[in-house]
Structure formats: structure tokens, C-alpha cells
């Protein structure tokens, strides 16, 4: 990696710059001048001027260089090659690149291709060399300029602090850019999908079979994108998960916050939280290879026909995974109910369980509901368990013993493996992703709002 080497050189120069600023400030100080800041800050100041502009140019140059060289090579190709359709042209460019790096081309190598590869290699080398020269010159110029500014009255610490604050601000913007990136990438690809398939068909259609025909005259694989079976499948599996997780999680939380002694609670809580720390792929394996055959066996024993990829197996195992989400939030919320409420209830002669059911739980209800909403959103977005244990066929069914598929399963099946990026099939995954994102976002916003309101009430 030549780029990494260049990066290392720039960083080494920055270290040299630091030493330069430091020694100059020290010698000024030794000379008896009242230097404004500690010598180290002059060092940092010089190092920043050395590294930051150079690195910015380095990054921009590295990003721009590839496409620029590509465009130059393409423009030097014979005209009939330039007029190829985009996909063929991409293939050609790929071949040129492979040839230039000593690899194998997918088509017959002729003189034009070799010449283009030669040209590509040369341009790449020239491009990198000029980038390196510019970057190194900039680094040295920056260090030289900054070092000249090191004078006793120069407030280096203020400059350094401004720079660091700017870095902190930029860092905190990454989270915002992530959200914007998610929304834009999902929206952009989903819009391309909705250009081909109408929104109404997607949201209300009852038939999901995303295989589109490869040739126009092919029969039977027209591709239909009615996502209702996916939504119902997701709801069914999440519903089963909540049936398992809510009672177990809620009662565990009541036990830990109301009945258990502190020592017991301190061991139980981390133990339960292990369930949340186990990777979901492990749950998926457990669901597919242990729970599903078990359920099938039991079903056979009582004469029920249980599918080997039944919604019940995936949902039940997902429920196990979600228990700690329900229990830890409920535990927090129940513990936050003021002691006075409980004591008033005991004073009226209520037993502990009566107090819990009639006083504590109603008081904690909003918080518990918020916690359950968060758990539902987690169940809807859960991927690996359903990919490994739920079915692929989109059945419109409410029977937990049948195989159903979910939104996340379809996203994975559509996007794993080779794909072309302009078929409705792959684009539909982004539409599903958008639905998933919006639905979980709504759940989260509502849940966080409810939980926060609840906390404010008792604080």
C-alpha cells in the first residue's frame, strides 16, 4: 500500500514538526522571553499545520484519482469502444485495470487493450507521484510557516484548543451523517424501486415472489412484489416472541425488584443479561438445529403437522433472546416507583402481591409499555434467528406451525450473492429496508418518549 506509506511519512513529518515547535519555544524561554503558552502547545501547533492540510489533500487526492484516471483512459479509447453501453464499458475498464495490475482479462487481449492498460498504469503512477510531491511539500510548507509564527507573544494554546474543539464537533457530526446516510441510501434505492413497482402494490399486494424473468419471453417468473405476507410473517414471529418474552421478563423483573434479596438480585441480573449478550447467530443455530426438530417431533407425537421451519420455533427462540430487554427495563421502571406508594398500600393492609398488582404495576405501566415497545422493535429488526430458522416462501398464514418469512429474511436472501443493481429484485430489498427502518424508528421514538415522560414524573 503506497498510500499507507505516504500517510506514515506525513505523520512522521508531523512528529518532526512537533519537535521543531517544542525546541524553538524552549530556546525562546531559555533566552529569557516570557513565552505565552507551555512549549508543548507550540509543538502541537506546528504539528497540526504540518499534518492537517497535507492529510486533507491526501484524502481528496486519493478519492479523486481513481475515477479521474479512469475517465482519461476511457477518453483515449477508440470511439467505437467509448460508445459501448455502460455495462459493457464498465467491464472493459475492469479488464484494463486487471491487465494493468498483471491479472487476467475476461476477453481476448488485443493491442488497444494492452495500450490502454499501459496508459492506465502510467497515469496511475504519475498521479500518485504528483500527489505524493504535493502532499509532502504542503506538509513541509505548513510546518515551516507555523514554526515561523512561534514567538513569545503568540497564543499557541488558544489555537490548539480551537483546532481540537473543531475536531470534537466534527466527530459528533458523524452520528448525524450516519442517520442521513441511512435515510438517503434507503430512500434513493427505494425510489428507484417504486419507479417500477407501484407503492400500492408493494404495501397492499398479497403475493410476494421477487424472481423476475431473465428474458422477456420467459414464463412463470414475472415477479410480484406484494409485501403483505412478509409483514404478517414478521408480525406473527414477533408476536410469538413477545408471548414468550413478556410474561417471563415481567415476572422476573418483579421478582428481582420486589422479592429477591440484594445478593440474589446481584447474581441473577447479570446471569439474565448473558441471554442478551449471546450472538444472534448462536440463537439461530439453536432454533434451527435443536428447537425446530424438537417441536416437529412433539407435533408428530400428538398428530400435528409442524413445518420444519415453523414460525413457532423461530419466534420462541427470539422470545428467549428478548427476555432480558423486557426484564431489565421493567426492573428499572419498577424500582423507580416511589417507596411511599408501596408503604401506603401496606399500611392499608394489602399483601405484597396485592400492592404490586394494584399499586406498583399501574404506576409503572407507562414505563413497562415503553420497554415492551423497544423489545418489539428489536424483534422486528432481528435478522439471524429468522434467516436460519424461518422459511423463505412467503405464505400468508397466521398458523404458528407453518413456515412464514419475514422482512429481514427477504432482505438477506435478495442481497446475498451476486446481484445487479438495476433489477427490481435487488432494489426491493431497499424498499423493505426502508419500511423496516421507518417502523422501528416509530416504535423507538414512541417508546423513548414514553419512558422519558415516565421518568420525569417520578424524579
Amino acid at each position: 500500500m503506497k498510500l499507507l506509506l505516504l500517510l506514515a511519512v506525513v505523520l512522521a513529518l508531523a512528529v518532526v514538526g512537533y519537535r521543531l515547535g517544542l525546541t524553538r519555544a524552549r530556546s525562546l524561554r531559555r533566552g529569557g522571553a516570557a513565552v505565552h503558552s507551555l512549549p508543548g502547545y507550540y509543538g502541537f501547533y506546528v504539528a497540526l499545520w504540518c499534518a492537517v492540510p497535507a492529510l486533507l489533500v491526501l484524502v481528496v487526492g486519493a478519492v479523486v484519482q481513481g475515477p479521474a484516471v479512469e475517465a482519461l483512459v476511457v477518453s483515449s479509447l477508440p470511439a467505437e469502444l467509448q460508445e459501448l453501453p455502460d455495462q459493457r464499458l464498465d467491464l472493459l475498464v475492469n479488464d484494463i485495470k486487471n491487465l494493468a495490475s498483471g491479472g487476467i482479462s475476461s476477453q481476448a487481449v488485443d493491442a488497444t487493450l494492452t495500450a490502454a492498460a499501459e496508459r492506465y498504469r502510467n497515469l496511475r503512477q504519475i498521479g500518485f507521484a504528483s500527489l505524493a510531491v504535493v502532499v509532502l511539500l504542503l506538509a513541509m510548507a505548513g510546518a515551516w510557516w507555523a514554526r515561523r509564527r512561534v514567538r513569545p507573544e503568540f497564543p499557541a494554546i488558544g489555537k490548539v484548543e480551537t483546532a481540537v474543539k473543531a475536531f470534537l464537533l466534527v466527530g459528533s457530526l458523524v452520528a448525524i451523517f450516519t442517520t442521513i446516510g441511512i435515510v438517503l441510501s434507503l430512500l434513493f434505492e427505494a425510489l428507484r424501486f417504486f419507479n417500477r413497482v407501484s407503492l400500492a402494490e408493494f404495501l397492499f399486494g398479497l403475493n410476494w415472489s421477487p424472481q423476475t424473468a431473465l428474458r422477456a419471453d420467459q414464463v412463470g417468473s414475472s415477479g410480484s412484489f406484494g409485501a403483505v405476507p412478509l409483514f404478517t410473517g414478521t408480525l406473527l414471529i414477533s408476536g410469538i416472541a413477545m408471548v414468550v418474552a413478556v410474561p417471563v421478563g415481567l415476572f422476573s423483573a418483579i421478582y428481582m425488584s420486589e422479592y429477591a434479596q440484594k445478593r440474589v438480585r446481584n447474581t441473577l441480573k447479570p446471569l439474565l443479561e448473558i441471554l442478551a449478550g449471546i450472538p444472534t447467530v448462536v440463537y439461530g443455530f439453536f432454533a434451527a438445529l435443536t428447537v425446530a426438530p424438537l417441536l416437529r417431533g412433539w407435533g408428530e407425537a400428538v398428530g400435528l403437522d409442524v413445518a420444519s421451519e415453523s414460525a413457532l420455533a423461530a419466534g420462541a427462540v427470539m422470545g428467549i433472546m428478548i427476555i432480558p430487554f423486557v426484564s431489565s427495563i421493567s426492573d428499572d421502571v419498577i424500582s423507580a416507583v416511589p417507596k411511599g406508594l408501596r408503604e401506603a398500600s401496606y399500611g392499608l393492609g394489602a399483601t405484597q402481591s396485592e400492592t404490586i398488582r394494584r399499586v406498583v404495576l399501574p404506576a409503572a405501566l407507562p414505563g413497562i409499555v415503553g420497554g415492551i415497545l423497544l423489545a418489539v422493535s428489536r424483534a422486528i429488526g432481528e435478522t439471524m434467528i429468522v434467516v436460519m430458522a424461518a422459511g423463505l416462501a412467503a405464505n400468508l398464514s397466521a398458523n404458528p406451525l407453518e413456515a412464514v418469512t419475514t422482512v429481514t429474511v427477504q432482505i438477506v436472501t435478495l442481497l446475498v450473492g451476486d446481484q445487479e443493481f438495476d433489477s427490481a429484485k435487488t432494489l426491493s430489498a431497499f424498499a423493505l429496508g426502508l419500511v423496516l427502518f421507518v417502523v422501528t424508528l416509530v416504535f423507538n421514538v414512541v417508546a423513548l418518549h414514553v419512558v422519558r415522560r415516565y421518568r420525569e414524573e417520578y424524579e
Binding site: 500500500m1 478519492v63 481513481g66 490548539v160 484548543e161 481540537v164 470534537l168 466527530g171 459528533s172 458523524v174 452520528a175 448525524i176 450516519t178 442517520t179 446516510g181 441511512i182 441510501s185 434507503l186 417471563v248 415476572f251 422476573s252 421478582y255 422479592y259 441473577l268 447479570p270 446471569l271 439474565l272 441471554l275 449478550g277 449471546i278 450472538p279 444472534t280 447467530v281 448462536v282 443455530f285 439453536f286 434451527a288 438445529l289 428467549i320 405484597q352 402481591s353 396485592e354 422493535s377 428489536r378 429488526g381 432481528e382 439471524m384 434467516v387 436460519m388 429481514t408 432482505i411 438477506v412 442481497l415 446475498v416 443493481f421 427502518f437 424508528l441 423507538n444 421514538v445 423513548l448
Partner: protein, 437 residues
């Protein structure tokens, strides 16, 4: 007792007294029942935990063992290096399987006559046996011409039989080992020529279609590169964001927006981050598919909110008096943070980081989206090479039809869980230590 005395001397008729007692008894019974529900819920949750771990351990412990057979290998120069050049290219290309085949054929002299039964006999030994012999010769060509007693890996079906996963009493059509093969295996066992050894290939190989050759090292190295990238990106960014929001950010709408945004980002399904990585890093920026670099980028975006939230809590718990004392001595804001706030908050920040990294290590779905699911035999040598990760390897093996991969999958899960327990243990230890001081 006193209530009974009261009732006897008071005005209440006995009837009402009895009704009260009955109601009380009912209420107490309900209280006991309720307690039992609660205990049962905890017990059920713990039972799930025990069953899950028990299931994985019982399926997976045998993955660390492999069946080996004893062979008398004559390193025949005629077979390995017929031209006598001792050149590496010639040595690498030789037919090493012929060496152990020779020994096996000598041991069962009647078998070697027809091709079908020869194939059956040689099917008992893994392809890995030949690779191991090749490695020995390549390391030390002077071995040629000598005879050594070696333990070489046997086929995965033999392995399964010895581990008790194949029932020899099943009808012959129902199993992949024939009756004759079973008889040979019995003969070898009685002669003491088959043993269980530590499964070294499982820890030093990359993926393979042959279960007895498949190992987790490639996936582990891929996970390692991914985690390094993730840590390098999300630790500085997470701490920077937390410091900015706690120490510098003005209280306004903009800050509120960042805060709400981070909380929501923490709850976005992980697969959505995978879609982001696919659309932005692969399709827009044209980074290579299947590379740990992209995996690390995606996972760091996913882990960032966790670290930010933990770091903010840690910074918040630093007492304001410490800041004020430092300001009083003339420190600048950045000096206060660098010299006082961050050192005090560091245990909390590190705990949050480790927990976030543990989650990232176990994450699979986003990696599927960016193509880290390919079948990759080579062990990756850098973050730009095509690679998988440990959880993805689990997913890939879980899908494999061979019975022997069930054991390998569970074995890989045990290794993965081992890493996670290590990381979480470290986090707990850090937290305890900082609470004590």
C-alpha cells in the same frame, strides 16, 4: 392468637370471624401463588440459559478432537521426487496420497484388487493426510527415503462413527459407511491404530468443504481485522462526541437533535447498517466486497452510539468540584478535560467500549450485506483481503449439509462465546476496580 381471644370476648359473631379468616387465607394463598409465578419466571429464564449452553457444549466439545490413524509411511523418493531434483515445485506437486495408500494397501492385502473396493478403503482417510505429508517433506526434504510412524487424520465419517454420531446398527443404506468399511475400522481399532487426538487443523486452517479440514483461523483473523478497524474508528470518534456533548455543546435545539439522533441510532436494526454499507461504501465509494475494512466501517457506525452513550455517562459522573478546582488553578477547558475529566472517566469509557466491541464481534447480519459470506479458504493477510468473520463462519457452517459440520459449527460457537466471555469479564473487572478506587 390475640385475634381469637378478641373474637371470643367481643361482639363479632363467630360466623363473620370465620369468613374473615377464610378471606385472609385466600389472600395469603394468592400471595404465595404470585411469588411462585415470579420464581418460576426466573427459573424458566435460567433454564433457557442452561439448555442453550448445554446444547452447544454437548454438540461442540468433540469438535476439538479429531480421529487419527497410525500409519507406517515410507517416504518413497520414487513417488515424491521421481526425477531426483529436490526442487520445491516438483516436491509440491507430488502425489503424497500414494504414500499412505501404499501402507493401507499392504495392511489389507486382499482389498487392493478392484477399483471400487480400493476407493472404499482409501475413503477412510482424509485428504488432509496427504497435505500433512507434503508439509513434512517441504519442511525437511532429507526425510525422503526414511520410514516414519505417523498419526494422520481420518475421514469425517470415521470421525463421526467414533464419536458416536453414526449408529453402526442402522441399515447399510442409511449411513455413508459401508459394512466393509466398518469391519476395517474395527480391525484398525482392535490393533490400536486409531486414536482421538487434539484437533489441530480446526485451529490453524481456513474454511474447507471437507469437514475434517475446515478450521476457524481464517474467520478468526477476519474478525480480528474487522475489530481493529472498528476500534480505531469508533473509540476516538465516540469519545470526541461524548466530550463535545458533555463539555462544550450549548443547550439548544441542535444539541437536542444530535442527542435524540444518537439514542435512535442505538436502536436501529443492525441489518439496516448493512444496507447502508452496501449502498454507500460498496456501490458509491466502490470499496471492495468482502473486505474486513468495509466490515469494520459498518460495525463502527453501529457501535458508535453504544460508546457515545457509555462515555457520556462516565463523563457525567466526574464530580464538578474537580473541574472547578482545575479551572481555579488556571487550567484551560481542554487541559481540564485532558488532565482530569478523561482520566477519571476512562474506566467507564473503556467498559462501554469493550461491551460495544463484544456486540460488534457477535454481529452477523450487516456483514452478510457487504459480502463477507463468501467461501474463503485462504487466511486473509490484511484488511483489504476477502475474508469472513467468526459469526459468519458459524452461519455458513450451519447451512452445510454434512453431518460433521454440526459439530464444527458448535465448536466455532464455543470459541466465539469464549472470546465474548473474556471481553465481558474484562469489562466487569474494570468496572469493579473503578468502583473500589
Amino acid at each position: 392468637m390475640s385475634s381469637a381471644d378478641n373474637a371470643a370476648g367481643g361482639r363479632h359473631p363467630n360466623l363473620e370471624e370465620a369468613a374473615v379468616r377464610e378471606r385472609l387465607a385466600k389472600r395469603y394463598a394468592r400471595e404465595r401463588r404470585f411469588r411462585w409465578y415470579c420464581r418460576a419466571a426466573v427459573a424458566v429464564a435460567l433454564l433457557f440459559l442452561v439448555v442453550l449452553f448445554g446444547d452447544i457444549l454437548s454438540k461442540g466439545w468433540s469438535a476439538f478432537l479429531a480421529t487419527e490413524g497410525r500409519f507406517e509411511i515410507f517416504f518413497d523418493p520414487q513417488v515424491v521426487d521421481p526425477r531426483g531434483t529436490l526442487e520445491r515445485d516438483d516436491l509440491a506437486r507430488a502425489d503424497y496420497a500414494a504414500l499412505w495408500r501404499q501402507d493401507l494397501a499392504e495392511r489389507f492385502p486382499g482389498v487392493a484388487d478392484d477399483r471400487a473396493s480400493r476407493r472404499e478403503l482409501f475413503g477412510l482417510v482424509s485428504d488432509g493426510a496427504g497435505y500433512r505429508l507434503r508439509d513434512m517433506v517441504m519442511d525437511d526434504p532429507s526425510i525422503l527415503g526414511s520410514t516414519r510412524t505417523l498419526w494422520l487424520p481420518l475421514d469425517d465419517e470415521v470421525d463421526l462413527l467414533l464419536k458416536g454420531h453414526i449408529d453402526a446398527d442402522d441399515p447399510e443404506e442409511g449411513r455413508l459407511l459401508s459394512d466393509r468399511q466398518l469391519a476395517w475400522i474395527d480391525e484398525l481399532r482392535q490393533a490400536g491404530d486409531i486414536k482421538m487426538g487434539f484437533n489441530v487443523p480446526f485451529f490453524v486452517n481456513g474454511d474447507s468443504r471437507e469437514p475434517e479440514l475446515a478450521g476457524i483461523l481464517g474467520a478468526a483473523i477476519g474478525s480480528f481485522y474487522t475489530m481493529v478497524i472498528t476500534l480505531l474508528l469508533c473509540f476516538p470518534l465516540g469519545v470526541a462526541t461524548a466530550v463535545y456533548m458533555e463539555e462544550f455543546a450549548p443547550q439548544n435545539r441542535w444539541t437536542d437533535l444530535i442527542e435524540v439522533n444518537i439514542n435512535n441510532l442505538a436502536a436501529v436494526p443492525s441489518i439496516v447498517f448493512g444496507l447502508l454499507g452496501l449502498a454507500v461504501f460498496l456501490n458509491f465509494f466502490g470499496l471492495p466486497r468482502s473486505a474486513p475494512l468495509v466490515g469494520g466501517l459498518v460495525l463502527s457506525l453501529m457501535t458508535l452510539p453504544t460508546i457515545i452513550i457509555a462515555a457520556r455517562v462516565a463523563i457525567k459522573t466526574v464530580p464538578p468540584s474537580i473541574r472547578e478546582a482545575a479551572y481555579g488553578l488556571g487550567a484551560t477547558p481542554l487541559q481540564v478535560i485532558q488532565h482530569h475529566v478523561l482520566p477519571l472517566a476512562m474506566p467507564g469509557i473503556l467498559t462501554g467500549t469493550i461491551i460495544g466491541m463484544a456486540r460488534a464481534l457477535g454481529e452477523t447480519a450487516p456483514l452478510l450485506m457487504i459480502g463477507m459470506v463468501a467461501f474463503i479458504v485462504d487466511i486473509p493477510s490484511g484488511p483489504m483481503d476477502a475474508a469472513t468473520a467468526l459469526p459468519v463462519q458459524v452461519f455458513l457452517w450451519a447451512d452445510s449439509p454434512e453431518r460433521a459440520f454440526v459439530e464444527k459449527t458448535s465448536g466455532a460457537i464455543i470459541v466465539l462465546l469464549g472470546f465474548l466471555i473474556l471481553m465481558n469479564g474484562l469489562a466487569v473487572w474494570l468496572r469493579r476496580r473503578s468502583e473500589q478506587s
